[in-house]
C-alpha cells in the first residue's frame, strides 16, 4: 500500500537581485525540478545525491517546511499542499523529520526531557519520556541532561526519540548519520532498522553516501541537478546501474579492501549551477559514457522504465557502461 506519493514536485528559489536588491533578478535556482516517486508503507526509499542535487529540498518540501513551487504530495491520500493550518498540524504528527546536525536541531537551553515532552504537549498526547529514551538506547538518567553534555551519537538518538514521540508513520531522515564516527554510525543505523521493524515505520532516507544507503534502503533514487536520474529496487541499482551517473558514483565510493578489483571512473568537472543547468541531459558535460552524442546535448532524456521496476533517464540506458 502506497503511503507517500510525490508527483512532479518542483521547488524553484527566486534568483537573487544584484545591486543590493535593486538590480535585475538572476535566473531562479531550480533546486527540485519535477521529482516523482512513491514509498509503500513500511519501506525505505534512499534518496541519494551530491551537494546541490536537491535531495534535502525534496524532504523539506514534502513536509511543507518549505512551500512548493508546484506539484503534489499525497500522504495516506491526504493532499499535503492543500491542507489548512489546523489539518496540516494534525497531519504533521504522522510525518516527522530527523536532521543531520543534532546539535543544531536541539535547543541548547532545554533538557532532553523538555525536548521530548514538548511535542507530546503540542499534540495533546500521553507518553513517557523514559520509555522513549529506552527505545533509542539511552539510560533514563539522560532525561536531565542538556545537549552539550551529550556526544554526537547520543544527540542523534535524542533527535530520533523526539521524532518518535508523536508516534509518526513516516520519518524523513535527512543525512542522519553523516556527522557521526563510523562505529557510532553503525549503532544509529542498526537502531533505525530496529525501530522500523518494531513500529512499522516508513522512511525517506536522504544521504550522499551510497554505502550507507545500501544498508538501510529497499529502493533507491539518485538525484542530479534537481532531477531523479535513476530509481530502482536497491538490489538492482547496486548490481546493475543503468545511468552513467549512478555507475560513476558507485565507482567513486572508497572500498576498505586494498585488493578490490574495481573499475574506477573519476568524473571530470563539477556539478553545474542549478540556476543555469546544461541543455539536453543535465549530466552530459561530465558524462563518461562512450556513446554520448549530439542527442544528449539537445534532448533531455525522460525517466523511463528500462527493466522491471528500474527507471533511468539516459538515452543509452539499454547499453549501460
Amino acid at each position: 500500500m502506497t503511503l507517500v506519493d510525490v508527483r512532479d514536485l518542483v521547488k524553484h528559489y527566486a534568483g537573487e537581485r544584484s545591486w543590493f536588491g535593486l538590480g535585475r533578478a538572476r535566473a531562479p535556482v531550480r533546486a527540485v525540478d519535477g521529482v516523482s516517486f512513491t514509498i509503500a508503507a513500511g519501506r525505505t526509499l534512499g534518496l541519494v545525491g551530491e551537494s546541490g542535487s536537491g535531495k534535502t529540498t525534496v524532504g523539506r518540501t514534502m513536509l511543507r517546511l518549505q512551500e512548493p513551487t508546484s506539484g503534489k504530495v499525497l500522504f495516506a491520500d491526504n493532499d499535503v499542499f492543500g491542507l489548512d493550518r489546523d489539518r496540516l498540524r494534525a497531519l504533521r504528527r504522522r510525518m516527522q523529520i530527523v536532521f543531520q546536525d543534532p546539535y543544531g536541531s536541539l535547543n541548547p537551553r532545554m533538557t532532553v526531557e523538555d525536548t521530548l515532552r514538548e511535542p507530546l504537549e503540542i499534540h495533546g498526547l500521553k507518553g513517557a519520556v523514559t520509555a522513549l529514551l529506552d527505545e533509542v538506547g539511552l539510560d533514563a538518567a539522560f532525561a536531565k541532561r542538556y545537549p552539550h553534555e551529550l556526544s554526537g551519537g547520543q544527540r542523534q538518538r535524542v533527535g530520533i526519540a523526539r521524532a518518535l514521540s508523536v508516534e509518526p508513520q513516516f520519518i524523513v531522515l535527512d543525512e542522519p548519520v553523516s556527522a557521526l564516527d563510523v562505529s557510532v554510525q553503525a549503532q544509529v543505523l542498526n537502531l533505525l532498522a530496529e525501530l522500523q521493524r518494531k513500529r512499522r515505520l516508513t522512511y525517506l532516507f536522504i544521504a550522499h553516501d551510497l554505502a550507507v544507503v545500501k544498508h538501510i534502503a529497499d529502493d533507491v533514487a539518485v538525484m542530479y541537478l534537481g532531477k531523479i536520474v535513476e530509481r530502482a529496487p536497491a538490489s538492482r541499482l547496486y548490481a546493475g546501474p543503468r545511468h552513467p551517473y549512478t555507475t560513476s558514483l558507485l565507482s567513486a565510493v572508497p572500498v576498505p579492501d586494498p585488493k578490490a578489483q574495481r573499475q574506477r571512473i573519476v568524473l571530470q568537472g563539477e556539478v553545474p549551477s542549478p540556476a543555469s543547468p546544461p541543455a539536453g541531459c543535465p549530466f552530459h558535460p561530465r558524462c563518461p559514457h562512450p556513446r554520448k552524442n549530439e542527442r544528449c546535448r539537445t534532448e533531455p532524456p525522460a525517466l523511463r522504465e528500462v527493466a522491471t521496476g528500474q527507471f533511468a533517464a539516459c538515452h543509452f540506458a539499454e547499453q549501460p557502461m
Binding site: 547520543q154 576498505p256 586494498p258
Partner: protein, 346 residues
C-alpha cells in the same frame, strides 16, 4: 601507490621520525589534563604514504599539528622527552627561524576545510606565491608565474585567470586544489594531509585523491594521510597506523592490516564500515563510545568496549607487540601473546 619500504635496518633512511610524542591540553575549570596524544611513535620513509586512521578524539589531528608545532600553547603543550626528528634534527628543539625554514617549505600541510584555511581577502595567486617568495626568494613576477604553473599542475582550468580570483569565487573542490598548490609550491619532502577530502562530495573526493597520487609520484614526496575513512586508506596508503584514545594501537603494511586486522578496535572498525561491495547485512557496531581524554581507562584503553577483554586487560596495558606475520605489523593487545583468548563472550 609506491612500493612499501620494509622498515628493517639497512632500509631507506627515515625521513621523519616521531618518537614518544606526548601532547597534553590543560582544560578549563580544573577538569584535569587531556592527554590527547599520549606516547605516539612512528616513522615516515621517503616517497611513501603513511595513513593515520582513527575516529574523532583519537589524537590523529593533534599528532599532525604537533609535528609542525602548530598546537596552540597554552592550553596545549608538548611534553619534554617527545622527539620529532626530520632529517636528523629535532623539530621540537629548533629555534623559531629555523623551524620556519622547514615549515611550509620542506614539510607542508593541507587541512580539511579549505575555506577556513584560505585568506578571504587575498587572491589565490598571492597566497600560493607567498611561500615561494619567503622560502625560495623568488621575485614577485617569478612567484606569480610559479603560482600559475602550480594551478595548472593541480588541474585548475584557465590558471591564468584563476590566479587573480578570490577563494569565495571557487567551489569546494577547487579550493582544495588551491590548498594543495599552496602546499606544494616549494616542493616539500613531506606533505601532511589532514582529512583532505572529508568535506567534499564523493566524485570530487575521487578527483582530489587521484591528484594527490599523481603529484606524489611526479614530485616524489612522502605523504602523511590522516583520515577517519578506512576506504581512503585502503586505496592510497602503503602502511597504516591505527590510533585510539591517544595511543597507537596497531601498525601494519596496508594489505596486512585489511587481511589480518589484529587489534579488536581495528577489527571492530572494519566491520562497522558500510560497504557497497558486500551484501546488505546488519552492521557490526562497537558498543559504547570513545572515553574522554581527561580520563582514559586504566589498563588497555579499549578494554571497556572490547568483546574479548579479560582481567589482565583492565589491569595492565599491553605494549605494541609484533604480530609475526609480516615485518612492521604490531598490535597493542594481549591477544597477540594469548591468541586462544580470541573468543567472543556471550
Amino acid at each position: 601507490m609506491t612500493t612499501p619500504p620494509t622498515p628493517t635496518p639497512g632500509a631507506p633512511p627515515v625521513l621523519l621520525r616521531v618518537r614518544n610524542l606526548k601532547t597534553y591540553f590543560v582544560t578549563e575549570h580544573g577538569k584535569g589534563t587531556a592527554r590527547a596524544v599520549d606516547d605516539v611513535s612512528f616513522e615516515l620513509y621517503p616517497g611513501e604514504t603513511l595513513g593515520i586512521v582513527g575516529e574523532s578524539g583519537c589524537g590523529k589531528t593533534v599528532t599532525s599539528l604537533s609535528i609542525l608545532r602548530l598546537v596552540p600553547e597554552p592550553p596545549g603543550h608538548v611534553l619534554p622527552g617527545s622527539l620529532i626528528e626530520f632529517e636528523g634534527r629535532n623539530l621540537l628543539a629548533l629555534p623559531a627561524p629555523e623551524l620556519r625554514a622547514v615549515r611550509g617549505n620542506q614539510i607542508a600541510m593541507i587541512f580539511q576545510e579549505p575555506m577556513t584555511s584560505l585568506n578571504p581577502v587575498f587572491t589565490v595567486g598571492d597566497q600560493i606565491a607567498e611561500a615561494a617568495i619567503i622560502h625560495q626568494h623568488l621575485s614577485r613576477k617569478a612567484a606569480r608565474a610559479r603560482a600559475i604553473e602550480m594551478l595548472r599542475l593541480v588541474g585548475i582550468p584557465d590558471p591564468d585567470e584563476r590566479v587573480d580570483h578570490y577563494p569565495h569565487q571557487l567551489s569546494g573542490g577547487m579550493r582544495q586544489r588551491v590548498m594543495i598548490a599552496m602546499a606544494l609550491v616549494c616542493h616539500p619532502k613531506v606533505l601532511i594531509a589532514d582529512e583532505p577530502t572529508t568535506a567534499l562530495d564523493v566524485t570530487i573526493q575521487a578527483q582530489i585523491l587521484e591528484l594527490l597520487d599523481r603529484l606524489q609520484s611526479e614530485l616524489g614526496m612522502a605523504v602523511l594521510l590522516i583520515t577517519h575513512d578506512l576506504g581512503v586508506v585502503a586505496g592510497h596508503a602503503d602502511r597504516v597506523v591505527v590510533m585510539y584514545a591517544g595511543r597507537v594501537v596497531e601498525t601494519a603494511p596496508t594489505d596486512a592490516l585489511f587481511e589480518r586486522p589484529t587489534h579488536p578496535y581495528t577489527e571492530g572498525l572494519l566491520a562497522a564500515v558500510p560497504r557497497i561491495d558486500t551484501p546488505r547485512a546488519r552492521l557490526h557496531a562497537i558498543p559504547g563510545q570513545v572515553p574522554a581524554a581527561t580520563a582514559w581507562p586504566p589498563g588497555c584503553r579499549f578494554h571497556p568496549r572490547c568483546p574479548y577483554a579479560w582481567e589482565k586487560c583492565a589491569a595492565e596495558e599491553p605494549p605494541l607487540l609484533e604480530v609475526g606475520d609480516e615485518p612492521g605489523h604490531t598490535a597493542r593487545c594481549w591477544l597477540v601473546s594469548e591468541p586462544e583468548r580470541r573468543v567472543l563472550k556471550r
